[in-house]
Structures are given as structure tokens and as C-alpha cells.
């Protein structure tokens, strides 16, 4: 309520129209903003375009990235990777049933 009332007061006192834009440096902000956004994304775009050439130039010096395994949290090696353990018993049952049914029907 308070925030709002305060905002309302500000609002009532504010300039508006073209004058407000000029006084608030609106044009300069817009030009600066668009320039910077374009500059940053153009720089990224150029970097990406140059990346394959950069990598092939560096090729011989670049290390092979091995396929790493996922270590448990950097501590606690004496750990049980819980996710690997949860083969759902119902799945095992389902497989067992499927195999059983197959054999039954084959007879």
C-alpha cells in the first residue's frame, strides 16, 4: 500500500511525452543498449565462426577428451552409488514373466 502510494506520487509528478524521453536520456539509453547487445552477440557469433579453425589449428596440441566416469561427489569413495542399484524388482519380475510366457507358448 505504502509502496504503491509512493509510486503513485512519483507517477503524478513525472514528466511525460517527448520531453520525458529527452530529459531521461531515452534515446541515448536505447542506442547504447542496442549497440552493446549487438556488439556482444556479434562477438559471440564471430568467435563461434572462428572456433572450428581455431580448434583444427590447435589440433595436434589438444588433448583427447577421455570418456570420464562420474565420480561420487569428490569425497566418500567408500560409497554405494545408489542409482545403479535400483533395478526395480517389478521389472525383474516382468522380465521373468515374459521369458516364462515365451517358453510356455513355445511348447
Amino acid at each position: 500500500m505504502q509502496l504503491n502510494a509512493q509510486a503513485g506520487v512519483l507517477f503524478a509528478e513525472n514528466l511525460s511525452g517527448v520531453r520525458a524521453i529527452i530529459d531521461g536520456n531515452g534515446i541515448a539509453i536505447t542506442i547504447t543498449g542496442l549497440l552493446i547487445v549487438f556488439a556482444a552477440l556479434a562477438a559471440i557469433s564471430l568467435f563461434i565462426a572462428a572456433l572450428p579453425r581455431l580448434l583444427s589449428a590447435l589440433g595436434p596440441y589438444l588433448p583427447e577428451i577421455e570418456s570420464h566416469h562420474d565420480l561420487p561427489s569428490g569425497k566418500g569413495a567408500a560409497t554405494k552409488s545408489s542409482r545403479d542399484d535400483d533395478i526395480d524388482p517389478r521389472l525383474v519380475a516382468a522380465i521373468g514373466w515374459a521369458v516364462h510366457a515365451t517358453r510356455q507358448s513355445d511348447r
Binding site: M1, L3, N4, Q6, A7, G8, L10, F11, N14, L15, S16, G17, V18, A20, I21, G24, N25, G26, I27, I29, T30, T32, G33, L34, I36, V37, F38, A39, A40, L41, A42, A43, I44, S45, L46, F47, I48, A49, L51, P52, L55, L62, I65, S67, H68, D70, L71, P72, S73
Partner: protein, 375 residues
């Protein structure tokens, strides 16, 4: 029986105002759009339910609402009002985003820059109507079509408008399939809509690992104000692409982002208490928000046409509309509108490049606005 009478005065029925009733309807519409229309349900459903919670009228002596010191919702709202939640969401988004398409078609990145014109033209419009420069900057960012960025910037520049800006940003993100197509059809010819794109090339693992590091350094050096948002986005992406931190990336894009998404949506919704929310300013913000989405779409499409003047392999200008971000809805809209003209033209994958570039673009724009407009 004074106690009973006293209690009845604290019930919602006794204190209900027309404004609250109206907002309850808005909340129900949000939930209905989420469930029945599948419009951004992960955002509209929490926000909609939050609006219901925020507009049950309460007695003054109980600290219940988002704005009441010491209430639970106030503590949860801290993550919004101090801008803590948006970077955490960006971390999760980074850990789920695949920048491959963008890496294979770097020139499409510029479309993500062009669409940010919507932000700055809306800023001028808001100044024209009479908002202060800081308020105008926060309103303009709605055109970035990126909820977390909008929340982050308005928390810094115009906290008193945060609720309205957040609701407007998420509403229009959900309404992208309604707002964008007419603008796209108006600004393109049939033959332009039929242009086919070349299939993207394969991207190597080295490229995908180096990209988030280099792109972060480029953005942060040019616009330090975007440091936190951009930093978290590319940090999340490095966790994903490095392969050695897969378990961290996996948690960031599941449990972590889900928890933050639930809480953020819920408290943003709950911050729309009608007393604070239903003002002339909010209505103006909603009008400017719709405008900004239209301008952003138009800017993207027109810039694509401008680029075609210089390019040998022409870009399908519909793809420019995906530069507004609103990931992934605006990319889907491109696919759908392209499909109308040629059912065999698949633009979705190509549209992802300006789409994710638009996320970066609006974060940078937010950084610039923060830097320029903060005292």
C-alpha cells in the same frame, strides 16, 4: 459469543473486495490456460494458484501475505525480491540447454540481438507515457520474453512494479502462440516463408566445452551487469558439456530448478494482492508488454530480411521471430507458421539458434539497463 462474531469478521467472505474477486478469476483463468491449453503449465499453474492464495483477504493482525514482515510467504518472496531465484533458474536452464544448433549456424545469433529492439522501444514508450527512466527500463525488459531476467531487473530497478512486470512477462510468454503469428504473416511474403535452411553441421565436443567459457567471458566483459545471470547460464552449460560433472548438471536441471520454479511461480502469484496490483500503472504495463512482444517479433523478422540482402544462402525470415526467446514456444511458433506454407519445411531446429541467442541477448540488455539506470 463475541469471539465467534469477531472471528466471522476475519473470514474472507466478510472482507472480500471486488478487486480480490477479480484477481481470483484471473488466477482461475491462469490455471485453466495451463491445464486445458497447455500454455507454459510449469509457470502458469504455480502463478495461478499463487494468485488465489494472494487474494484471499486476511485480517491485518496475522502476518500471512507476501508483504507482511515475518510471514512464511515473505521469507519465500525474499528469493524474488532480492533476485536470488532467477540466477538459480538460469543455472538449471544452462544445464539443460544444447547450444549445438547455435554453434553450427553462428550468423543466426544476430537475430537474437535484433529482437531485443522490443526492449528499448518499449522503454521509450514507457517514458513517453510518464514512467520514470528506472521504471521504464524495468517495463521494457518484458520485451525480452524471459521471466527470470524480467524479475531480476525489476527487483533492482523498480521493486514496486515487480508483481505487474512478472505477471505480464509470464502471461505474454504463454500467449506467444497468439501474439506472434499475425505479426509474422504480415511482415513476410509467401515466397520468403517457403525458404528452406541448410541442414546444420555436426558440432564437436571440444567446441561445446569451449563455448560456454568463451561466451561467458565475452558477455561479462562487455556487460558486467549481466554477470550473475549469464554466469549461471554458462556455468550450468559447462557442468552439462564437461561430462565430468554430469551428476551436478543432472541435479541442477531436475530437483534444483523444479524447487525454485515452484516457489518462484507461487510467490510471484501471491504478490498480486489486488490492493497493490490493480492500479492504472499495472494496466499500462500490460498494454506496453503486449506492444513490446509485437515489436520484438517484428524486429527479429525484419532484421532477418535485412540480413538476406547480403547473404548468398538466404535465411527464412520467420526464424527471426524466434529471437524474442520465450524458449521454446517461439521456436515452435516458427515451425507452425512455416508448416502452413510448406508442410515439408522443418524450421524448428534452426529456430533454436536465435531462440537461445535471445536469452543471452536479453540478459545482456538487462545488464546494460541496470548499469545505466542505477544510481
Amino acid at each position: 459469543m463475541d469471539i465467534l462474531l469477531e472471528f466471522l469478521k476475519t473470514t474472507g467472505f466478510y472482507q472480500m473486495s471486488p478487486g480480490n474477486l477479480g484477481m481470483l478469476l484471473v488466477g482461475l483463468v491462469f490455471i485453466a490456460l495451463a491445464i486445458l491449453k497447455d500454455y507454459e503449465p510449469l509457470l502458469l499453474c504455480p502463478i495461478g494458484f499463487g494468485i488465489l492464495v494472494g487474494n484471499i483477504p486476511c485480517a491485518d493482525n496475522m502476518a500471512l501475505g507476501v508483504y507482511d514482515e515475518g510471514s512464511v510467504l515473505h521469507y519465500l518472496y525474499f528469493g524474488v525480491s532480492q533476485g536470488v531465484f532467477p540466477p538459480l533458474i538460469f543455472l538449471g536452464i544452462g544445464a539443460m540447454t544444447d547450444f549445438s544448433t547455435m554453434l553450427s549456424e553462428p550468423k543466426l545469433v544476430l537475430l537474437g540481438a535484433a529482437a531485443q529492439a522490443g526492449i528499448f522501444l518499449t522503454l521509450l514508450g514507457a517514458m513517453f507515457i510518464g514512467f520514470t527512466p528506472s521504471e521504464a527500463g524495468a517495463i521494457g525488459i518484458i520485451g525480452g520474453a524471459d521471466g527470470p531476467t524480467a524479475i531480476f531487473l525489476s527487483a533492482k530497478l523498480a521493486p514496486h512494479l515487480l508483481g505487474a512486470i512478472a505477471i505480464a512477462a509470464y502471461s505474454y510468454m504463454a500467449l506467444v502462440p497468439v501474439i506472434q503469428p499475425p505479426v509474422m504473416r504480415l511482415l513476410t511474403t509467401k515466397s520468403e516463408r517457403l525458404i528452406r535452411m541448410r541442414p546444420p553441421r555436426q558440432v564437436s565436443r571440444h567446441e561445446r566445452i569451449l563455448f560456454p567459457i568463451a561466451a561467458f567471458l565475452i558477455c561479462a566483459m562487455i556487460a558486467p551487469g549481466s554477470l550473475v545471470l549469464i554466469g549461471m547460464l554458462f556455468f550450468g552449460n559447462l557442468l552439462k558439456e564437461s561430462t565430468v560433472t554430469e551428476r551436478l548438471a543432472n541435479t541442477a536441471r531436475t530437483a534444483m530448478i523444479d524447487i525454485v520454479t515452484i516457489l518462484l511461480g507461487f510467490v510471484v502469484g501471491a504478490s498480486t494482492d489486488a490492493d497493490q496490483f490493480l492500479t492504472k500503472q499495472s494496466l499500462l504495463i500490460f498494454g506496453l508488454g503486449a506492444l513490446s512482444f509485437a515489436i520484438a517479433t517484428a524486429s527479429g523478422v525484419l532484421f532477418a530480411k535485412f540480413m538476406n540482402l547480403f547473404l548468398h544462402h538466404k535465411i527464412n525470415p520467420l526464424i527471426g521471430a524466434a529471437g524474442v526467446s520465450a524458449v521454446p514456444d517461439s521456436a515452435r511458433v516458427v515451425q507452425v507458421v512455416g508448416h502452413e506454407s510448406d508442410p515439408n519445411n522443418h524450421l524448428l531446429m534452426h529456430a533454436m539458434a536465435p531462440n537461445v541467442a535471445g536469452v543471452i541477448g536479453s540478459a545482456i540488455a538487462a545488464g546494460v539497463l541496470w548499469s545505466v539506470l542505477t544510481k
